[in-house]
Structure formats: C-alpha cells, structure tokens
C-alpha cells in the first residue's frame, strides 16, 4: 500500500488531532469536575486570601527577590571581573565559587545560612540579611557567567579606542565596556530575576513570622486552614503577576538588541 507524500502528511495530521480529541473527551467525561472545582476554585476561600496575599505575601516576595537580586548582581559583577583577571588566583577563586554555587541546590544554601551559620558562629542574623545572602550567593554564580559573556562580547576595538584616548584599564572598563556589556546581558539578567522570584519561595525554611510570609508560604498556610487547594492556585497566579510582565520585557529587550545589531 503506497501513499503519496501529500496523503501521508494528511494521515499523520489526522492521527495527531485524533489523539488530542481522545484526551479532551477523556478528561471531560472521566474527571470529577465537582471535586476539582471544590478543591481549586472555591471562590469563598479565594476571596478570603485578599488583601493579605497581595499586601503581605506578594510584597514580601518582591522585597526578598530584589534584595537577593541586588546583592547577587553586585557580587556577580565582581566574580565576572575576577574570572577575566590577569591574576590567576582570582580566576581560580571565581571559577571555584561559580562551580560550587551552581552545583548545589539553593535549598542547601538556605539551610546552611539559616541554621548552620547561626549555630556554628553563635550569631543572630537579621532575617532579611539571611534572605539577601542566600538568594544573592546562588544568583551571583549564574549572573557572573552571564556578565562575563557580556563583557567578552564587547568588541576589542572599544577597549583599544578608549585606551588610545588615554583612559586607564579601569576607566575603560567602567566608562566604555561595562555599560555596553550590561545592554547585551539585560535580557538574560531579567531571566535570572524571574528564576530568583521563584527561588524566593525557599525563604519558608527560615521560619517566618506572619508579617514576613511570602507567596508560597502564605498559600501553604491557607491550604492547611481551609483544606482547599484554592490558595495555592491564587498564590501561583500572583507569581504570574510578577513573572509574565518580566518575560514580556525579556522578549522586548531581545527584539531591541536584535534590531540594534
């Protein structure tokens, strides 16, 4: 039995639509919609989350993320410059740091900073400082590699032009290379911000007071209270309020860079 290429294409497409239709029909008739609605879409429970989930949880998520991002960006820039240093030990140190913090789960870093450090050194660290350190230490490892790539993407002629005008190596870096590198890495850095937003949910490990709840912890507490998954869904949608615009921003930035080149 031989089919022309066009016939084969048509048959293949028909099979794909067929499978999709089967899955949809199965879900419509197979699922217990009443149960699902009660679990996920309980409007009373959903309404009860407001305004706390916005005024406390969403705000805290943003605050934690920005603390970690700010610290991570500064540390990442230092690490990127170390990676490009002409002094070998700096390069080794930066490489070790980056490999370590990219390789271990953020969860472990939170545990180490939240419990390990206070016990080992007998110190009490402010909750916000712990969050900033933990998120920042992990984020810096990723951002360092991104920033390094950005610095290396600035054409060599730019440094030559700057040095020819009498600028020192450091001045050329600050005034000419780094401003251009940051334009190049703006889209991947925004992606990093999205990842950090989600990683900020690990803050729950530190044991938070009510006022310090962020989205994930807030949702989980409400879940226990109401025996409904609805708060989790609401918390998830709140994350999207942050991440979807950021994702949109990344695409716009990428389009702008593509046009400029």
């Amino acid at each position: 039995m031989s089919m022309s290429r066009r016939q084969r294409k048509r048959a293949f497409r028909a099979v794909q639509y067929g499978v999709l239709a089967l899955v949809v029909v199965g879900m419509v008739f197979g699922a217990d919609w009443g149960e699902i609605r009660r679990a996920f879409f309980d409007l009373d429970v959903a309404q009860a989350q407001f305004p706390g989930i916005i005024t406390t949880a969403l705000v805290n998520t943003v605050v934690y993320t920005l603390l970690g991002f700010g610290f991570g960006l500064a540390l990442g820039l230092i690490l990127a410059l170390m990676r490009l240093s002409s002094v070998p030990p700096y390069r080794w140190l930066a490489t070790c740091y980056i490999e370590f913090f990219r390789g271990v789960p953020a969860l472990l870093v939170f545990i180490a900073l939240g419990f390990g450090v206070p016990i080992a050194f007998q110190v009490v660290i402010n909750q916000y400082v712990t969050v900033m350190l933990a998120l920042g230490l992990v984020g810096a490892a990723y951002m360092a590699e991104t920033i390094r790539a950005g610095i290396q993407a600035v054409p060599k002629g730019q440094v030559e032009a700057a040095r020819s005008l009498g600028m020192s190596q450091g001045r050329a870096m600050r005034s000419i290379v780094i401003p251009q590198a940051f334009r190049i890495v703006l889209p991947p850095l925004t992606n990093e911000l999205i990842l950090l937003t989600k990683d900020s949910s690990l803050v729950y490990l530190l044991g938070l007071s009510l006022g310090q709840y962020e989205l994930a912890k807030f949702g989980r507490d409400a879940l226990n209270e109401n025996r409904s998954l609805t708060p989790i869904l609401v918390a998830g949608l709140c994350y999207l309020i942050i991440t979807l615009p950021l994702g949109h921003l990344v695409r716009r930035l990428e389009a702008r860079t593509a046009k400029a080149r």
Binding site: P155, E160, A161, A162, R163, S164, L165, G166, M167, I176
Partner: protein, 281 residues
C-alpha cells in the same frame, strides 16, 4: 615583554637620499622594532621616524606589517624588541606611564570604534573630562569646534549607529582631535567605507595636513599619498623596502617589489596582463 637591543639593532639598508632628522625634531622615532605573534614574525627590524609637522604615508601589501608598525607606535601592540620614542620620551621604557603618553597621540581606526552607547557629543567629551579633567562646558565647546572642523556639527546629539560610515569616521577624527594630540595616526581610515564616502574623510585629513598636523597614515589611497604625503614608506614582509618623497616612491620606484605592488594597486586589470612582463613605463 619589552627588550632593548639598541646596540644589536641591525640597520636595514634604506633607499638613498634619506636624511636622518636631528633627535628632538623627531615626533616618532622607532628603532630596531621587532614584533612577533607567537611564531609569526610580523616586523623584522624596522627603523622609522616621523618629524614634527611631517605627513608620512605607509603603503604596502596586506600582511606587510604596516598596521602593526602603526599600532606599535602607541603601544596597542607591545614590541617584541626595539624602542619607540615620542618627542624624546621612550614609550617602551617600563617606567613610562603609557596612559599619559597615549593622550598625546590621536588614532583613527579602520573600523571607527566609536562608542555606540554614547551620543556623538559624549563620544568626544568623555575622554576630555575623564582623562584631561576638563569641565563639561569646556569639553563641549572643544567638541563642537572639532565637529564643525570635520563637517558634522549638526549630528552632535545622535548616536553613532545613525550615522553613515563616512560621518562616523569624521566623528572619530574629531574625537581624537579633541584631545589636542601632538600627532595623529591613521590606520587605513577609508578601507571600511563605501567608495562614495571616501572623499569626505580624505578631505578632512588633507585639511589637517595643511594645518601642519604631524600625521602617520597607513593607507591604500595612492592618490592621497601622492598628493598629501611629504614622504612615502613602502613596507613588505615586515621590513621597510624603500622610502622617500612620493613622486619618487610612487612615481619612480627603485625596487622590483615596490613596482609589482604599485602595478597591482594602481591598475589591477593591466597587472594581470603585464605580470612578469616589461617593467612599468
């Protein structure tokens, strides 16, 4: 690493009639210059001077080392051996602050190398302010004067990407001039330009020469070299083959290598036919 081999420098035999300038007259003095990239030796002992107020054009086939020679003059390339001095200051001395010397040398690149994140005006003021410590007002006044000088005064607030190649190169010249350099280096300034844009850039360079600027120009523009240069230097294979006034080096070259090169450059179609044929009329 820099090595000094003044005594070991084997002077190349130069074209006859070359007059050695007196010590303090030389804006650039290069002696026994060697430069290797790994195993590739690009400059094989070059002695070269540019006097104050002189316009010297360096010509030669690609790979002859002429751009490397120019880049060694402001130490964008570190010489493997030999010395480079600027008005008596030895650049190759490790104790010399190279940043202080470089601000006295303007350089114009083949690929313009304007700063794309800065407006035209900021391209001209950033080094004036950060390096020379000029005030914003003074830097902008000098920048505007130089933009007028190169004929792009109306473009001061746009970004380099919005300019044509010829305009970008003229802005690059204005940027170098804003530092009040003692001399200007041009590294194939018109090679990246569309043919119809070359004239504007050459006109600006010609005017600079007329104003008495000391200039070293690596170029393929033979008519420019012939009309503007005080002296033409022909390089091939990492050495200076011949140098002298343009009407002699370009008009009546003494060496076979120079003749072959000029024939190829001046009339590529005829060179095909005349290859291995009779010497140029």
């Amino acid at each position: 690493m820099t090595a000094h081999n003044g005594e070991a420098a084997v002077r190349k035999v130069k074209a006859a009639g070359q007059d050695e300038p007196a010590g303090d007259e030389a804006a650039i003095r290069v002696e026994g210059l060697h430069k290797s990239f790994g195993k590739l030796e690009v400059l094989k002992g070059v002695d070269f001077t540019v006097r104050r107020g002189e316009v010297v054009c360096v010509i030669g086939p690609s790979g002859s080392g002429k751009s490397t020679l120019l880049r060694c003059v402001n130490l964008l390339e570190e010489p493997t051996a030999g010395s480079v001095s600027l008005s008596g200051t030895e650049l190759t001395d490790p104790d010399v602050d190279i940043d202080r010397v470089r601000r006295r040398i303007g350089i114009v690149f083949q690929s313009f190398n304007l700063f794309p994140h800065l407006s035209v005006l900021a391209n001209l003021t950033i080094a004036q302010r950060r390096v020379l410590g000029r005030s914003k007002d003074e830097a902008e006044r000098i920048a505007r004067a130089n933009l007028r000088r190169v004929g792009v005064a109306e473009k001061e607030s746009v970004y380099p990407a919005q300019l044509s190649g010829g305009q970008q190169q003229r802005v690059a010249i204005a940027r170098a001039l804003s530092m009040d350099p003692e001399l200007m280096l041009f590294d194939e300034p018109t090679s990246a330009l569309d043919p119809e844009l070359v004239g504007d850039v050459l006109a600006v360079m010609r005017r600079l020469a007329d104003e008495g600027m000391t200039m070293m120009v690596v170029t393929h523009e033979m008519s420019f070299a012939r009309e503007v240069a005080d002296r033409v230097v022909f390089m091939d294979g990492g050495v200076i083959v011949e140098e002298g006034p343009p009407n002699r080096v370009i008009g009546d070259p003494q060496h076979q290598r120079t003749r072959t090169f000029l024939r190829r450059v001046l009339d590529p179609a005829a060179a095909e036919v005349a290859e291995d044929g009779a010497p140029l009329a």
